[in-house]
């Protein structure tokens, strides 16, 4: 047990830190900075992703033949930490890197690997996810999107929801029902769907913050060739589980790192804000909460590390990721709520108000945080997973 970087890790970390310092987009992170909008925004992120790739910072632990570096997994952890710490832009391939790619690597055909993996890394092709449906959220296996087998492939009809990046995506991982005769888990098949195929329509979904981060995907007789099935026909449930486990495993470091940044900003807020005539940072109740949040962030960091160690040993993400996701989501909710409390009455003012504290960013973050306990496995489902798969309690359903 050694919480310090090895010499090799330290070299990698400091080179990366320097690279980020020198290469962040101009003006990025400065107070008045405005991200580009619309098409320009996509180009901006695609460009940034390409530069990250060219600098050798994408796909660190992926095989070299698909554009990766076969570096130790710890490097990937360091990358996620440092990108979070620098508040650098995200690689546009969040879904490709965290969900589609690992799934194709684990379960895809050689042709699929050759065809898709490198373009995920370069940012050339953007991916989205088609799992949840209006009638199938926590109970994913009850999904109703139909995939009818035809000559040489499938025809897919149905609706997906909660798909981030779908509005700019080239490809989607998709789970659909190819057989509804038997057990609901058995009849699912996992596809790679071309988002530019005829019959695919994407509509943005406006969320609680007013932003539209997610989309609905409507599929009307979309043709998918047979070689775009991942795993066996009818084996989609087990492939989807691979995806979800990887999602949670990959989230950990990035989310914790961002949370750590958010905590430091919260401290800045507490020092800058006066309540009851003194700095919030001098209020014992605020101090107690800050100490507790800091403890949460550290606990999360080292819980991720411990889960990571077990990942390193087994090569497969385990259910420990559920603990980290659950704890992260609730910590983020507490943290952002604390920011509102520190702001006092100014908590009422949102984006667009020059009187708003820090442009209303905490209001946005706080509202957005309510989704954290719903997306990527509701807290209720995660507690089931912990109870049943980690603690060995009998199934509650």
């Amino acid at each position: 047990m050694d919480f310090r970087d090895t010499a090799e890790e330290a070299r990698f970390r400091s080179a990366l830190r320097r690279w980020l310092q020198e290469n962040l987009p101009e003006g990025w992170g400065s107070p008045g900075y405005q991200e580009p909008e619309g098409e320009a925004r996509v180009e901006f992120y695609r460009d940034w992703s390409r530069r990250l790739y060219e600098a050798g910072y994408v796909g660190l632990h992926w095989p070299k033949r698909y554009g990766g570096h076969e570096a130790p997994l710890t490097f990937q952890a360091i990358l996620l930490e440092e990108v979070g710490r620098a508040e650098a832009p995200e690689h546009i391939g969040v879904i490709g890197l965290g969900m589609a790619g690992p799934t194709i690597l684990a379960r895809g055909t050689e042709e699929q690997k050759e065809r898709f993996l490198r373009k995920i890394l370069t940012g050339e092709e953007v991916w989205c996810q088609g799992f949840s449906e209006p009638g199938a959220g926590s109970d994913l296996a009850s999904l109703q999107t139909k995939a009818v087998q035809t000559d040489g492939g499938f025809v897919v009809t149905g609706q997906k929801v909660w798909s981030s990046f779908a509005h700019i995506a080239d490809w989607s991982i998709l789970v659909a029902r190819s057989d509804d005769s038997g057990d609901k888990h058995a009849g699912l098949t996992y596809f790679l769907m071309d988002m530019h195929a005829p019959g695919v329509e994407v509509r943005p979904l406006r969320q609680i913050t007013g932003d539209a981060e997610f989309n609905e995907i409507f599929m009307d007789s979309v043709k998918i060739p047979a070689d775009r099935v991942v795993g066996e026909v009818g084996d989609g449930w087990s492939v989807a589980i691979t995806t979800l486990m990887n999602e949670r495993a990959n989230l950990g470091f990035a989310l914790t790192s961002r949370l750590d940044v958010a905590f430091r900003k919260l401290v800045t807020l507490a020092k800058a804000t006066g309540t009851n005539g003194t700095r919030a940072a001098d209020d014992p109740l605020v101090r107690d909460r800050l100490a507790s949040l800091w403890t949460d962030v550290q606990a999360l960091r080292f819980t991720n590390y411990r889960a990571f160690s077990s990942f390193l040993r087994t090569g497969v993400p385990g259910p420990e990721g559920s603990v980290a996701k659950l704890f992260w989501s609730e910590t983020n909710q507490r943290l952002t709520k604390t920011a509102l409390q520190i702001e006092g009455a100014f908590a009422m003012l949102g984006t667009g108000s020059d009187r708003a504290v820090e442009g209303g960013r905490w209001q946005n973050l706080q509202l957005r945080s309510r989704g954290n306990t719903i997306e990527a496995g509701t807290s209720e489902i995660l507690r089931n997973i912990i109870a049943e798969r980690v603690l060995g309690l009998p199934k509650s359903r």
Binding site: P134, I208, N276, M348, L349, T351, I374, T378
Partner: protein, 362 residues
Amino acid sequence: MDFAFSEEQEMLRASARELMNDRYPPERVAAIADGGGFDREEWPAIAGLGWIGISVPEEQGGAGLGFLEELVIVEELGRALYPGPFLSTVVLGLEALRLGRAEELISDILSGKRIATVGWAGEDGRFDVDPAPKVSWDDERLSGVKLFVPDIGVSDLLVIVGGTAQGAGLWTVDRDAEGVTWRELPTVDGTRRQGEVTLREARATALHIDGPASLERLRDRALAALAAEAVGLGSRAIELALDHTRTREQFGKPIGAFQAVAHQLAQAFLEVETARSLCYWAGWAVAEGTPEASTAAAAAKARAAEAAVAACERAIQTHGGIGFTWEHPLHRYYKRALGIAATFGWGDSLRARVAADLLDPP
């Protein structure tokens, strides 16, 4: 001892609920919140119901009922997220004018002709009753900045609350008078907009009040009313969640049959109902002017706001993704609940006052 509402009070509640269901269903509230805000033209209809002067004696042109009845209405308005200026005009503005015996203005308010709002917090955002100068007053002209002035867009009259070098005071000034500039501030909660007012030597009228005691009474009314709003909207959020979880099926049964869901809502119910008990007690104490009124109102507002916020959070959680969308009405309940929590002091600061009342009695 009698802890139930009377039949008349229950009838008042039923008619308020009916009216709100009728005129301010969620789609309507959404349109107002997301659009241009409350339409001033809709206000006189409220006057027609006798709600404005509900707690004003009949001889002063009111309905001759009490603050408890006013709270019954406020709770129902909170339940509907009514986006009009009831809190500002009736709970605060009218009472300020009554404390200052501004007879003529009172009758304009009662008739619905004029709408008043109250500017309390200064640039520090605090709603205190303290002697620290917040505005300056030279016996003719008033200067200062007021933030978080509710419903300013539809108000005619401003009541300014503040400490000056000479002590606590209340003034009236026309919103559009010379020396007054105002604007709406973009708020998270679109159903209650907040304004900013800047007074630069504006000609104002001082109300003759009973010093800080009058301000305390105003504040206690506001706290009790905010608690009632919170209880109303918290209950409604739970009902929405119950409707959803009784019918939404996952894993072959309604999700409300899972204890992980059901017990969250049971807990939300417990919190809102116990807050409701505090709210009615505080309302009664404020109505009667009993010695515990201030403490009770602070405790009730703190607890009710927290219960409402938590109830909305649990309602969003048990709704799953749909509760996180803009199209679903829940987020407006949540934003109002957060707004209630943030105005007139978050729980911490209210509990600090409760603790002072309990532990350091004068």
